[in-house]
């Protein structure tokens, strides 16, 4: 028997005058801000436009991106290695990993970068050979660890220590039953990690890693401590100081950082959608498909074997 459609409720919402008041306040404030930005001659928008696509600035942007990518790659490699070491059965490696994280998280990145820059002074020669025995190859430290390498090493080693904790919490978030099942099947630890645990840990690891990448983009401006002088902040500052117009050049740099961050944020949004959505803490099966997620990924999330982890990492 067909059900008669009931009369649906069409009630008026509770009036919210505060919404309109706040809209008014914000509109006025934004108008004042925009007006100030455009009419204040001290911003020198013409200079901003002149230097926005200056070859020196564009090449500096390239170096900044290169430092970011290089440092993150080194950081991720170190993070996975040390996180696995810390979860492993070998107490020596556990200790090494703990000390690494303790030291590189515990000292200022600026200080670390200065030290990497001073490495050729501290150790003028690097050699390959047997400890306390013969040396086969000897290098000038200056040739091997130039400013760029020192900058990537400094940023990457520091980042690795932070990311290591993120990776570790990701690995810990995978249900113990997954370890037991693969162990009971006769799989070795390394196989279990590679085939079973790491793929599931990615949900927890990827979003904060995106966040760390955005943070790294701006941390690269600290490499003047090495000193490495080709990246965006240093180059724009130098031009600004030479022209006696620091403000428009700061704006140029800020525009580029904002643009790259925005692009990274879009990327991060899609990664999070891929790895994080549709996740249910109760572990009940949720089969509603989420756009942009693979079948495989949905299946991981719906299984409830990966638990959310409050790994709100602090950026350096």
């Amino acid at each position: 028997m067909p059900q008669p459609t009931p009369e649906l409720i069409h009630a008026r919402p509770v009036p919210r005058p505060s919404l309109w008041i706040w809209a008014g306040i914000v509109v006025v404030l934004v108008a004042m801000l925009v007006n100030g930005l455009l009419t204040n001659p001290n911003y020198h928008w013409d200079v901003v436009a002149e230097f926005l696509f200056d070859p020196r600035v564009v090449s500096a942007l390239g170096w900044t991106l290169l430092l970011t990518v290089g440092a993150m790659l080194l950081g991720i490699t170190l993070a996975i290695t040390t996180a696995i070491m810390r979860m492993g059965t070998n107490p020596i490696l556990r200790g090494v990993s703990w000390v690494y994280i303790w030291f590189f998280r515990g000292t200022p990145i600026y200080t670390q970068l200065v030290f990497w820059g001073l490495l050729p002074v501290l150790y003028p020669k690097l050699s390959l050979g047997i400890p306390f025995g013969p040396e086969w190859f000897v290098f000038d430290t200056q040739d091997v660890i130039n400013a760029g390498v020192a900058a990537v090493l400094g940023l990457g080693l520091n980042e690795g220590a932070y990311l290591s904790e993120i990776v570790r919490s990701g690995l810990n978030s995978v249900d113990k039953g997954q370890w037991e099942a693969s162990t009971a099947l006769g799989m070795k630890r390394s196989t279990t990690l590679r085939r079973i645990v790491i793929p599931q840990a990615m949900r927890v690891i990827v979003p904060p890693t995106g966040n760390e990448t955005i943070s790294m983009l701006k941390t690269t401006s600290l490499v003047l401590a090495v000193p490495f002088t080709l990246e965006l902040t240093f180059v724009t500052n130098a031009i600004g100081n030479r022209n006696f117009l620091p403000i428009p050049l700061l704006i140029v740099a800020a525009i580029y950082y904002l643009v790259i961050t925005s692009i990274l944020m879009v990327g991060q949004h899609f990664l999070e959608a891929y790895y994080g959505r549709g996740f249910d803490t109760e572990g009940t099966v949720r089969t509603k498909p989420v756009k942009g997620m693979s079948k495989r990924q949905r299946a991981i999330l719906a299984s409830g074997t990966v638990h959310p982890d409050p790994n709100a990492e602090v950026t350096p």
Binding site: S182, A184, G186, T191, R195, Q200, K295, R296, A299, V306
Partner: protein
């Protein structure tokens, strides 16, 4: 003929907690042994000790005549390496209460994983075995489904197929139906019955007294870390000699 499993004076301590207090158990080849007992009696711990998921604290555990987890060299005991223990484990299949399927793999991939990674079979051979085993548990048509797309009963059957794909000599079941909705218990028990009928040696920890009565060759009743009584289902379930056994079955039946 050597017994499939022989536990001799097995103790297990978790810190100060004495969970197994000297268990002697023999399971012959082709035998179905059902372990019954109240919660916390140590029955899950016992079967987890058989495949070295837990290290025993005292006594000896033999599977197919081989000492598990240890070797004796010139009168001294040495622990086996991870690799050697992994080899011993690969001959013992295990099915868990919570299935523990790999959620990022389809049913077929779940079953193929250990043959590929542990037995080092090529993809075609592993897939052939996996399809055979899925057929055996009646899930050929679910091969490409992910665990989250399967019911609990189907997941547990995939888990059984996954263990069987290693062609084990012995299968351990740790409360395989306890996490299932009542209407799904039957399909899992049916698979286990057909497995028993095929001559597989099985040790089953369960609360399904009906299954024990129907399938078990030997019923073991455990309480407080010891085996209180064992024998045929008729002896242990229907005519228990010990007061503790009688108490338990009065409550559950």
């Amino acid at each position: 003929m050597t017994a499939m499993v022989e536990a001799k004076g097995v103790h297990k301590l978790f810190g100060d907690l004495h969970v197994l207090k000297g268990v002697d158990l023999t399971v012959e080849q082709g035998e179905v042994c059902v372990v019954l007992g109240p919660s916390g009696s140590g029955k899950s711990t016992l079967i987890r000790c058989i495949n070295e998921l837990e290290q025993i604290s005292a006594g000896r555990m033999f599977v197919d005549g081989e000492l598990m987890g240890l070797k004796e060299v010139r009168g001294r005991l040495h622990r086996l390496s991870d690799k050697e223990i992994a080899r011993q484990r690969s001959k013992v299949g295990m099915v868990f209460q919570r299935f523990n399927l790999f959620p990022h793999m389809t049913a077929l991939e779940n079953v193929m994983e250990a043959p590929r990674q542990v037995r080092r079979l090529d993809k075609a051979a592993a897939e052939r075995i996996a399809r055979e085993q899925l057929e055996r548990v009646g899930l050929s048509d679910r091969a490409d489904h992910y665990p989250s797309q399967l019911s609990g009963g189907q997941q547990q059957r995939v888990a059984i197929a996954r263990a069987l794909a290693m062609e084990p000599d012995l299968m351990l079941f740790d409360e395989p139906t306890s996490a299932l909705d009542p209407e799904l218990v039957g399909e899992v028990l049916a698979v286990m019955k057909s497995l028993a009928a095929s001559g597989m040696t099985m040790i089953v920890v369960t609360h399904e007294v009906g299954f024990a009565r129907e399938v078990a060759d030997n019923v073991v009743f455990m309480d407080d870390g010891v085996i209180v009584e064992q024998g045929t289902p008729a002896q242990v379930i229907d005519a228990p000699r010990e007061a503790r056994t009688r108490d338990f079955f009065d409550k559950v039946l």
